[in-house]
Amino acid sequence: GLADRLQETLKKIRGKGKVTEADVKSMMREVRLALLEADVNFKVVKDFVNRVKERAVGQEVLKSLTPGQQVIKVVNDELTQLMGGEQSKLATSARPPTVIMMVGLQGAGKTTSTGKLAKYLQNQNRSPMLIAADIYRPAAIKQLEVLGEQLDVPVFSLGNKENPVKIVQQGIQKAKEEHCDYVLIDTAGRLHVDEALMDELHQIKQEANPDEILLVIDAMTGQDAVNVAQSFNEQLELSGVVLTKLDGDTRGGAALSVKAVTGKPIKFVGMGEKMDALEPFHPDRMASRILG
């Protein structure tokens, strides 16, 4: 991992045991490579390394007996701080139902995460209702209904011939009648560059007035993560992010990219396909994982 590579770098450049600013520069190059290999976006890496460089040439590193370890500590701290900060709590509206909208690219894990969030809320003695607003993907509604059945959570649907805005409008109405205190809206996957579909999301937002708009993003996403996150955030104003498939072996640099470019908190992570595989986001664990 990075620790070994920094050791190698130090072996080559170390003279009399004292580390110079030039030595730190070589170490920062290793950090940069490690972050790029972890899929952190090119520009985010540039900004991050510039931020850290200053601390990395500080006394704590230059005077340390283990400068390699010290650099890692500095980088790890900075990464953790960057990705952490806010609590991963879900919003609660003063006037129920609290409305949560799930958005993101095709196949990211929105429908599955919608089910997981419903279970999470159930465990907290809430009564969520799911709204099937994906009218495009074959058997999308069926997929959500099967999850609802597994969890014993109501699913509102008007089939795939009705406009999603109307589905959401009637779904929220139904949730109020049934005294459900949370509404989770599953939307169709779409490209951030599909104007018509992004406009549809905007219309759903206008109708539903959500308390949370969560961008669901696949942890194995590469450089494109910044484009996707930035675009969804600019067009909708996200409230948070759900990072899925973290049970894989990807380093997950997309987490840093998304946080850096939107400033929005990663609230939950998906750790599997089952409905109980949802965990709060731990920035320190993510930092170590990214650094490899």
């Binding site: 790029l36 290999e37 095709q106 997929q143 894989g248 990807t250 396909e273």
Partner: protein, 280 residues
């Protein structure tokens, strides 16, 4: 990169940036740029106009080693079996629908095997694609053994004298040993029924995936003998540059690309077009 530029360190840095942002991968990019730097020196190339064709050629040579790689190697006188594998959500089921349509249009009799017996709505999803493409789907109940479904589908395809059998499998992450074992079993069951099958095992890769795609190609290759790649969601802004490293290291060719969510959004891979898009 398209305007006339002096070939200097700034030029190479900008090139690195473009390629890394296309998910080509930092190691592959450094190798390629070092090569290019040497060739520019050797051939005394001083402007970008002279270097760009060299660069394009380099990439195209990696991606399109020989013409026949881009087509599918299926027998023309008996049943051809294609197994679709890959991680969760990449587009396996959708790609099968599109490919069924392609084969049907070419006059072939196609059958689909609903090998994802795990995920909610998976069988229904494939059935809708079967309807759209006008082909039959062999399925069991949800929760049944995927190997049994595929076995059943082979029997049905042979007795109905089908030309092509497309087998869907559940998405799975490559680091899940039990799921990769399950996939290996499906592969072995196919082999046992038809010794030279599956004639193609296609790894479906999402163009938005970063460096993890290399690990996917390696481990799926070990579990199920991957013969080619379908690169999906190229209609987005991701470039899918990771396929260059995959071709370089594992000699796996991209056979098709997915360009959307409709029945006809599947195209044979064109190396030149792909490389031009990398620099767009």
């Amino acid at each position: 990169l398209s305007r006339y530029r002096k070939v200097d360190e700034d030029f190479f840095e900008e090139l690195e940036e473009i390629l890394i942002q296309a998910d080509v991968g930092v190691e592959t990019v450094m190798e390629l740029v070092d090569d290019l730097r040497m060739e520019a020196k050797k051939n005394k190339i001083v402007d970008s106009e002279g270097l760009k064709p060299l660069l394009t050629e380099k990439f195209v040579d990696i991606l399109a080693k020989s013409d026949e790689e881009e087509t599918l190697n299926i027998p023309d006188d008996r049943l051809g079996v294609i197994l679709f594998v890959g991680v969760n959500g990449v587009g396996k089921t959708t790609t099968i629908g599109k490919m069924a349509h392609l084969f049907k249009n070419a006059g072939k009799k196609v059958i689909l095997a609903a090998g994802d017996t795990f995920r909610a709505g998976a069988i229904e999803q494939l059935e809708v694609w079967g309807e759209r493409a006008g082909v039959d789907v062999i399925k069991h109940k949800p929760g049944s053994d995927p190997a049994a479904v595929v076995f059943d589908a082979i029997q049905a395809a042979q007795s109905r004298q089908a030309d092509i059998l497309l087998c869907d499998t559940a998405g799975r992450l490559q680091n899940k040993k039990n799921l990769m074992d399950e996939l290996n079993k499906v592969h072995r069951v196919i082999k046992r029924e038809i010794p030279d099958a599956p004639h193609e095992t296609l790894l479906v890769l999402d163009a938005t995936t970063g460096q993890n795609a290399l690990s996917q190609a390696k481990l799926f290759g070990e579990a199920a003998g991957v013969t080619g790649i379908v690169l999906t969601k190229l209609d987005g802004t991701a470039k899918g540059g990771i396929v260059i490293a995959i071709r370089n290291e594992l000699d796996l060719p991209v056979k098709y690309v997915g360009l959307g969510e409709k029945l006809d959004d599947l195209q044979p891979f064109q190396a030149e077009q792909f490389v031009h898009a990398l620099f767009a």
